[in-house]
């Protein structure tokens, strides 16, 4: 019998089985949609990129012009203040905070602000129109100037009053602002180098660092919403985009678990014995299963990509990277399914496939960045990401979103394909070694 017939039968068996079809294809779509709704629910109104923003009010408790004037008159003849060539305008925190920080494109996607007086701000928060009030205190500009130009350490302090219904959004706001003010204090030591950096690149380039420096408990709450941004990339992607790749790569692994159980199921249903009597070798049966799982993965991926693009508005980026990546991912997941199916057959029990489902998938998802982006994971865990098939998938798909050239993925492609080869080889060796155990009856 030709392999093709076996594969067609295997595919039919899934397609006709509404339950497994639902688990394999509809579930990921549902979860993606839930994720979408959840992310939208966190923020108020929708914006073009799929990410929506929270409204805050900013209350200025200082008079910028007066504080600059104060600083300049004090600086004159003060040996401790080294103004050098630095223009006051460049280190004016009033300008940096609004123009560099809040007006930054990425921050804008998360935070929409209005500058109001205190009374108005309180009114807004009471009528649920804003999630928080940010108070920039008296001396905000002056202290900043002193910090940047002298050895003085006047702490720049920002106060936040939050609306209790927006706890989640506010976690993010707090962590972003903390990151911002922390930068201003810590980086003080490096003085003008930092200022130059801040000004030439804009604060946005540091969001990745800010995120990476967030305290542990913050990360847990912010990971799903924060802009996922790395300093050296051309394009940025939204967290929604990131989690679409993460979900998809993880779900492909469940297809491997499914395929890993399929052959032992055939044995239990006695059709494996019948196949064997017709002279079809066990190798052929597991290869057919490999191909079936690969085809399911291609189907799953295409479905999720198209659905998330059309319905949820997620941009997946470079088509060629996606196509090659999907093919290679599917082959590797198919190979994984093949090995799993041989192991379940040899052990005569589904326990290894279940172990894979409940432990190995979770492990791969964790170290691969399906739960939290690698940037915020402890390095020790992130270093294991090369072991994670789903993690390599995320890499490929996010690279497609960053619109990196195809060559940026060659390493990942090669690694995935070598995994596929190794998995298939181990499967064949196991069939040879176990001989009698991997038989139909």
């Amino acid at each position: 019998m030709r392999l093709g017939q076996l594969i067609i039968k295997d595919i039919k068996n899934i397609v006709y089985d509404v339950k497994s079809l639902a688990i394999l294809i509809v579930m990921p779509v549902v979860i993606m949609s839930i994720l979408g709704v959840a992310l939208k629910g966190v923020f108020g109104n929708e914006s073009g990129s799929g990410i929506t923003s929270m409204n805050i009010a900013v209350v200025k408790q200082y008079d910028a012009a007066k504080e600059i004037e104060n600083f300049q008159s004090e600086a004159e003849g003060n040996a401790l203040i080294n103004q050098g060539d630095v223009l006051v305008e460049d280190i004016n925190l009033d300008r940096i905070f609004f123009e560099e920080f809040l007006e930054n494109k990425e921050i804008q996607e998360i935070i929409t602000y209005t500058v109001v007086d205190e009374t108005k701000a309180k009114e807004l928060i009471e009528t649920d129109e804003i999630a928080a009030i940010v108070y920039l205190p008296e001396g905000f500009v002056y202290d900043g100037l002193v910090n940047f130009t002298s050895l003085g350490r006047n702490k720049v302090k920002i106060n936040i009053v939050t609306h209790q219904d927006y706890a989640f959004s506010n976690q993010i706001l707090i962590s972003i602002l903390e990151g911002f003010s922390e930068k201003l204090n810590i980086e003080k030591a490096r003085n003008s180098a930092f200022i130059g950096d801040l000004i030439s690149k804009g604060v946005n380039e540091h969001i990745g660092d800010i995120v990476a420096n967030l305290p542990e408990n913050m990360i847990n709450n912010t990971e799903t919403i924060l802009e996922h941004k790395s300093a050296n990339r051309q394009k940025s992607i939204t967290s929604f985009q990131y989690y679409a790749t993460a979900m998809m790569s993880m779900f492909l692994l469940y297809s491997a678990a499914f395929g890993g159980k399929a052959i032992l199921s055939e044995k239990h249903e006695y059709t494996l014995a019948r196949l064997s009597v017709t002279g079809i070798s066990i190798e052929k049966v597991v290869i057919s299963n490999f191909v079936r799982v690969s085809l399911i993965c291609i189907l799953q991926s295409s479905f999720m990509i198209i659905y998330s693009n059309v319905v949820l508005g997620i941009e997946w980026g470079s088509l060629i990277t996606i196509i090659i990546g999907t093919l290679i991912m599917s082959i590797t997941v198919g190979a994984l399914a093949m090995l799993l199916s041989v192991i379940t057959l040899a052990t005569g029990s589904f326990s290894f496939a279940s172990f894979f489902e409940f432990a190995i998938i979770q492990f791969m998802a964790l170290v691969g960045g399906s739960f939290l982006p690698l940037e915020v994971l402890p390095e020790a865990i992130g270093n294991l990401s090369f072991l994670s098939i789903s993690g390599l998938g995320i890499k490929i798909y996010t690279n497609a979103m960053y619109e990196l050239p195809l060559s940026a993925n060659i390493g990942t492609y090669t690694l995935l394909l070598s995994y596929a080869v190794v998995l298939v080889l181990i499967a064949f060796i196991m069939i040879k070694v176990n001989g009698k155990k991997v038989k139909a009856c």
Binding site: M1, N13, Y16, E269, A273, V277, I280, K439
Partner: protein
């Protein structure tokens, strides 16, 4: 012509010695019955002939070739009907037939013809489009057989093909087996623990018990070789216990058991037997409701060979 020879066939599982060095053979065109109680080793024997299991000892020769060395020698000529339903429940009857037909190397118009022919033989042509999981047990059994017939095999091996089905389907299956044998010249190995089926169908019978073939021959040969016994079933209105005790005192009577509200007597040939029975029962205050005298059958052969009844 000798189609299949089994020599010293042996199979051990971890704790069970399932088949203990058995010998038998099949002539072309025969229906050979393999009769035995649960756990006798019938399925294990059949699995080895079908190349599913490798024997631990002995050989199986099909058309002068050892199938242990070359499984292909039997595979394409064999229609194997497993004891369990081995079908894809999510696929329709037609899809199952098409798939298994292809598995046997059929294609194109040959395949289509085979599928329509077989579905007629097994009588499911009106349900071909439905998923197999919606079939009744009897229909699934019939399809289970049909799948093995598509490639017009020389030899069909059926492992208890009538287990757990209604009398109608059962009759249909038995008639199918006879049809395949008489009209299509197929050789059949038929396994069962229903002695009536084996008696009805088979030219020759091997009786298996505890991994061994304990008797072999035509029904008549088996009966003769094991001292023809007379079977008498009596139904009385009460006091079965006393009747059984009394009946056991008759000299020629060998066993008396109670089964399905009948007193079943197995006796050596004895001219005085009926007279003695009537007399013994007449001494009790009971009425004979019915009395059925049966010719010696395989049940009695098995009983006399093992001291046990065939069915649990």
């Amino acid at each position: 012509m000798r189609l299949l020879t089994v020599k010293g066939l042996d199979k051990k599982f971890k704790t069970v010695h399932a088949v203990k060095g058995i010998d038998f053979h099949i002539e072309q065109g025969e229906i050979l019955g393999l009769l035995g109680p649960n756990g006798a080793g019938k399925s294990t024997t059949i699995s080895m002939i079908s190349t599913l299991l490798k024997p631990d000892g002995g050989d199986i020769i099909y058309n002068n070739e050892s199938i242990i060395k070359n499984p292909k020698a039997i595979q394409e000529n064999l229609g194997y009907v497993p004891q369990e339903i081995a079908l894809y429940p999510m696929l329709s009857g037609r899809e199952n037939l098409m798939f298994w037909g292809r598995a046997y190397g059929l294609k194109g118009s040959t395949l289509k013809k085979a599928v329509s022919e077989v579905s007629e033989i097994i009588g499911i042509d009106d349900r071909l489009k439905d998923k197999v999981k919606t079939y009744s047990g009897g229909m699934q059994r019939r399809l289970n057989i049909g799948v093995a017939l598509l490639h017009n095999p020389e030899l069909i091996i059926m492992d208890e093909p009538t287990v757990g089905i209604d009398p109608q389907s059962r009759k249909h299956i038995l008639d199918t087996v006879l049809h395949l044998n008489k009209d299509k010249g197929m050789t059949v190995i038929y396994t069962s623990h229903y002695m009536e089926e084996v008696e009805y169908l088979c030219n020759r019978i091997c009786i298996m018990d505890q991994g061994k073939i304990i008797a072999e021959g035509t029904k008549d040969e088996l009966v003769k070789a094991n001292n023809p016994k007379t079977n008498i079933h009596i139904k009385i209105d009460r006091d079965m216990e006393s009747a059984i005790v009394k009946l056991k005192t008759i000299e020629s009577v060998e066993t008396v058991i109670e089964e399905e509200e009948l007193i079943k007597i197995i006796s050596k040939q004895d001219e005085q037997l009926f007279k003695n029975i009537i007399q013994v029962i007449g001494e009790l205050d009971v009425t004979i409701l019915s009395m059925d005298i049966q010719e010696p059958d395989l049940e009695s052969v098995f009983l006399s060979l093992t001291g046990r009844v065939l069915r649990d």
